[in-house]
């Protein structure tokens, strides 16, 4: 047993952290988030040049083959830097879906382009009524001759605005809430009939509501088996959940460090407020949450890498429950301990808190994962 990162991973970690330290201070991030497409295309190319976009993918498609462990390293850094570039949407969700479910032709055509920074993907799977249930798919794909006709709406699709292609889940047969009968299609963003309402999210990212009005696609738009996409979707959402838990670890680490630092310098009642034991204990709670989260995140990554089964489900949900707990134990406390300044737009702490808060809802909240854990 060896639970340390390999030398390669440590190098990767150092290079990402160095880039973020030098090029990605909080003011820069805020500027990117508020203007244009919500991130920097230049940074995206830098990510490609640094090899970050190829981290989880197999070497035969131009990737590094670092898999889920590699993702953890990158995502933790993304959390620390509050990165707004569409790594989760394009590399984790879109890329992993193609690697997992795509045929050889699709993988060869798409993954090298994605890894090189020339192609961006988004994954549309949430619907207005679906909440966190991945089988609640009302969006339809109907076979018409040698084409499929896609109709329906998808919600909160991250970075669809700047994606070149959207992967969308659709019902090709069966009743709603059945696992069989769900298929995946890859659609050009500028396809006729596809319209988009783009917006900013609370944590400063970008997402869209997509409407498909009889969008016609060829047979080769199908990703994976007809009617059989559910297990691929479930796998990718699990992999992405494990990845954002790592991002959460990065966010929590920053909040813990910044709060401890603040308590050591902020003076009230003629002393540093960190002298008050009650406040020290809150920071210790943050620290313990951070380490326990880290453990569950590593465990989830290992189980995701090992493939399918109840162990994957359980470990991912366990990590995600901890991420939900971090919202109150770390996020709310960080704001509270900073006092008034902690709820201002000006301070980076508030933005880490926002990200942590939003991550609870992403891919299923604490309640959902607690329930899923108990049923797995």
């Amino acid at each position: 047993m060896n639970l340390e990162f390999t030398e390669e991973m440590v190098m990767l970690q150092d290079s990402v952290n160095k880039f973020l330290q030098n090029e990605y201070d909080f003011e820069t991030r805020q500027g990117l988030s508020k203007t244009g497409v919500g991130y920097s295309e230049e940074n995206w190319q830098n990510f490609a040049d640094m090899g970050l976009l190829g981290i989880p993918f197999e070497e035969q498609y131009g990737g590094f083959g670092f898999g889920q462990t590699g993702l953890i390293v990158v995502m933790e850094a993304i959390g620390k830097g509050l990165v707004v570039e569409p790594y989760l949407a394009s590399v984790v969700l879109g890329g992993l879906l193609i690697q997992r479910a795509g045929n050889e032709e699709q993988k060869e055509a798409l993954l090298p382009e994605l890894i090189g920074g020339n192609l961006k993907l988004a994954f549309a799977y949430v619907e207005r009524q679906s909440r966190y249930n991945l089988t609640d798919v009302e969006f339809t794909a109907e076979k018409k001759g040698q084409k499929y006709c896609l109709s329906g709406s998808k919600s909160v699709v991250f970075n669809a605005e700047t994606a070149d292609k959207i992967i969308v889940s659709a019902r090709t047969s069966g009743d709603n809430f059945t696992e069989s009968g769900i298929s995946l299609f890859i659609v050009d963003k500028n396809a006729a009939g596809l319209s988009s309402r783009d917006y900013q999210t609370v944590d400063g990212l970008r997402a869209s509501e997509l409407t498909f009005d009889n969008v016609m696609v060829d047979m080769d738009a199908l990703v994976g088996d007809v009617d059989g996409a559910f297990s691929d979707i479930e796998y990718v959402i699990d992999a992405a959940s494990a990845a954002i838990c790592a991002e959460g670890v990065g966010v929590v680490t920053q909040l813990r460090e910044k709060t401890v630092e603040y308590l050591k310098t902020r003076k009230q009642f003629d002393q540093a407020i960190g002298n008050f034991q009650i406040l020290q204990h809150r920071c210790v709670d943050m620290f313990m949450t951070e380490e326990q989260m880290r453990s569950l995140t590593y465990l989830a990554a290992i189980k995701v890498a090992e493939g399918d089964g109840a162990e994957r489900t359980k470990s991912v949900s366990a990590a995600k429950v901890y991420l939900g707990d971090a919202r109150s134990i770390v996020g709310e406390q960080a704001a509270q301990l900073h006092g008034g300044i902690g709820v201002t737009d000006e301070l980076d702490v508030a933005h880490y808190v926002k990200r942590l808060t939003m991550m609870n809802a992403l891919f299923g909240d604490r309640d959902y994962h607690l329930q899923r854990f108990s049923q797995a």
Binding site: Y132, T201, D203, E332, Q336, G342, V343, T357
Partner: protein, 399 residues
């Protein structure tokens, strides 16, 4: 022990309910219900309507100053009816906080000069207590007022000044002398916001809105007649005032209304094909908050009953503040959780007047996460909840 209202109290309840139904402006009600930011005009308009109704705008004021002279129970009934009707909460600074101070510590001239304008909302007040480096350690405030003939020269800075950008006047705590006990050299001063040397800078909060400000005071000339009470008496004045503020912060009626809103939302949202409110887990979470709120309401009633027999609020106000804000925060979290993914879109315009576009997901969903984040401040302001616990430890438990 009797929880029921007397026949007179019941009649009063109906009178209030009817009045609100007929006179509370529908447009303001809609804004409050939807969580849209209110403007100065909304407050002034409603407060004037209430003032014209026998001084209802000032439930705590005795009749001799133009208030309705209500009993604590009548005040509670009024509060509850206002909460149920989604009434805008009147601005506390003049009506609830400063006015009692002027009645108790002010001169006849000060009362005559200010109380009428407060009652009629003709002068808007803000509170200059907090300072950038003081926080909950209020007594460490640094803003200095130096006597120079018939006026004071004030220098310093105040922060978290709610609605300071609307204000005509500010009541402040200033340091008029350095003493061994830092509470001793503090005085209570009224400052005209249009005085030369007063600058107001917005502070944008985490929800993206502008409600609070930092105020800079540079060689501001304040006439000596604007001193309330004696020089150096400011701390005891402030303490009596903070008791009022903390009781006001509990907001039981508002939380009751928020629970109704939460249940409505959870009935409309669907999960696994059924209304979310039928999800056993979500239902249990709502119940847990309801139980906390029931306890809080009853505790509030007990405090009220004690007040009716002439006692002043003591450490109970700290309890009400801590538990009240915990309940408010828990409800905002559940409201946000109820809409799942739709808590994520940030549509700032939807929080302001006149936004006509279709909502993203459930109607009003886009205000829920910003409100959740914004309500983090309730356990910080008015003396942080940690400070309230220190007060209770000392005052009740004798530590």
């Amino acid at each position: 022990m009797d929880l029921n209202y007397s026949p007179e109290e019941k009649a009063f309840q109906l009178e209030v309910r009817d009045f609100l139904k007929e006179n509370y402006p529908k447009d303001i009600q809609q804004k409050v219900a939807k969580g849209i930011a209110l403007k100065k005009d909304d407050y002034v308009r409603w407060q004037k309507i209430l003032a014209n109704k026998d001084g209802w705008v000032a439930p705590g004021w005795p009749a001799e100053y133009g208030g309705p002279g209500w009993t604590p129970v009548q005040k509670y009934i009024f509060d509850e009816e206002c909460g149920a009707a989604n009434c805008l909460r009147t601005v506390a600074f003049g009506l609830v906080m400063l006015a009692p101070v002027l009645m108790k510590f002010g001169t006849v001239e000060q009362r005559e000069k200010y109380l009428g304008d407060i009652l009629n909302s003709d002068v808007w007040w803000c509170q200059g207590y907090s300072e950038p480096n003081a926080g909950s350690d209020l007594a460490s405030l640094q803003t200095k007022a130096e006597r120079n003939g018939d006026h004071y020269i004030v220098n310093g800075s105040k922060t978290w000044t709610t609605h300071g950008h609307y204000a005509d006047m500010m009541f402040t705590l200033v340091r008029t002398s350095q003493e061994d006990r830092k509470q001793k050299g503090i005085s209570f001063l009224l400052i005209d916001m249009t005085s030369p040397g007063v600058t107001t800078t917005p502070i944008i909060t985490v929800d993206g809105m502008h409600v609070v400000n930092q105020i800079f005071l540079e060689d501001v000339k304040v006439p000596v007649e604007n001193l309330v009470g004696q020089e150096g008496e400011g701390w005891s004045i402030a303490k009596s005032l903070l008791m009022h503020e903390r009781t006001y912060i509990a907001q039981v009626p508002r939380s009751k209304k928020q629970i109704v809103r939460l249940k409505e939302l959870a009935s409309k949202e669907r999960y696994n094909g059924k209304p979310l409110i039928e999800d056993a887990n979500f239902k249990a979470k709502i119940s847990a908050v309801e139980i906390e709120l029931m306890a809080l309401e009853m505790t509030n009633m007990r405090v009220l009953s004690k007040l009716s027999s002439g006692d002043a609020p003591g450490a109970e106000s700290s309890l009400l503040k801590v538990k009240g804000t915990e309940v408010q925060q828990a409800i905002t979290a559940l409201l946000m959780e109820a809409v799942g993914y739709f808590g994520m879109p940030y549509v700032k315009e939807s929080m302001t007047e006149g936004w006509q576009e279709a909502p993203i997901g459930p109607e009003e969903a886009s205000v829920l996460a910003p409100h959740y984040l914004d309500w983090r401040k309730s356990s910080i302001y008015g003396g942080s909840n940690e400070i309230q616990k220190n007060i209770m430890a000392k005052a009740v438990l004798g530590f």
